[in-house]
Assembly symmetry: C2
Homo-oligomer: 189 residues x 2
DNA sequence: CAAACAAACTAACAAGTGTTAGTTTGTTAG
DNA sequence: CTAACAAACTAACACTTGTTAGTTTGTTTG
């Protein structure tokens, strides 16, 4: 277990605060209080409030990009690729609960990195859609607008952070299995 | 078509701004600029920034409560009740796209009405879960944790505002049908 | 011991915040 | 015409914001 630097600690605590109130509503004094120091002291470790947001969001967004690249590379069936994506979201969300909140709620407050983030996101969505379209063409998947399917599945996966149990891995495996059932086969018996 | 009062106009424009940047990041001067007046002039029509947020969120939350009450009253099957809930979300979301953004992102910035909102939300979720549990008991619905099913379906429905087409009603009917398929029967063929 | 460093501090700033007070303007009703 | 009113304005307030400058404190290293 690598020791956390003071900077990483600040970013981690900031993400927790961002989850509760959002980036804009969290002040540097709030963050300092949570760290038990004064606001000015934060600047010994970080460059700006904006930098904190960038660190949180971009690092997670890039994890998704890496994960999607590996899903695309596999020669699994479309349904299996979907399951891999579901597992990817459960994995990343469970390990970055607070960061996922910032990614979902506060990406629009990015400045220098806004376009970078947007590109990562739209590439990800395009890859996702491509997988679905292949499934439709091969007959694996129902012939409904891929946009709607992607939206439906992806918004559920993106909201996992709101809901995921911080408990043991057992529950995460079970959650993944349940999501596989629900998102792919639906809820009807 | 009832004429919109100046106050309603301010609240409508505020909701649009809130959708883009969130409640905290929108200043009264931003809102005033969007209305082509000075910030102080807003206060001839509204009491406070907080009041605007309350108007937006509570009015929509209560629409959902009313809708759920009517779903519960029907003697339809569980699957049909689910479809009614889906239709309810498409209806309310399409008519309150900006307001839904505030409801989803900024409810935590409510002050006096925070507890009221939370109660409406948890009652709604309990009613939703009750419907699912009935479906599981009657064998209509797969036997997976109702919490996970509710979470999965409800987060998709709650995010509709991000995605709904502002186009014609035809598309809304089609969207509703597609969501019925995807959320209930899944995407697999 | 002395030098170096990490990490805290106090004090302050310029800009921005929601909001109030009091006033002006133009339109509507008696 | 005048009284009433809706709706805008200017000016200002007390407070909060992110951030900088310069300093102090305690620990680690040569």
């Amino acid at each position: 277990m690598k020791q956390e630097t003071r900077q990483e600690e600040i970013i981690r605590v900031a993400a927790q605060l961002f989850k509760e109130k959002g980036y804009s509503a969290v002040t540097m004094r709030d963050l300092a209080t949570a760290m038990n120091i004064k606001a000015a002291s934060l600047y010994n470790h970080i460059n700006s409030k904006q930098d904190i947001l960038e660190s949180i969001i971009i690092s997670i967004a890039e994890k998704f990009t890496v994960g999607m690249t590996s899903v695309l590379a596999s020669d699994a069936t479309c349904i299996e690729k979907l399951k891999e994506i579901i597992a990817l979201h459960v994995e990343i969300s469970s390990q970055n609960i607070y960061g996922m909140a910032a990614l979902n709620h506060d990406w629009m407050h990015l400045e220098a990195q806004l376009n970078h983030y947007k590109k990562l996101r739209s590439d990800y969505e395009n890859d996702f859609k491509t997988i679905l379209i292949e499934g439709v063409n091969s007959g694996e998947i129902i012939d409904i607008k891929p946009d709607v399917m992607m939206f439906s599945i992806l918004t559920t996966l993106r909201s996992l952070y709101l809901w995921i149990p911080k408990k043991e891995d057992v529950n995460l495996k079970e959650l993944t299995n349940n999501l596989n059932e629900i998102l792919i086969k639906g809820v009807v018996k």
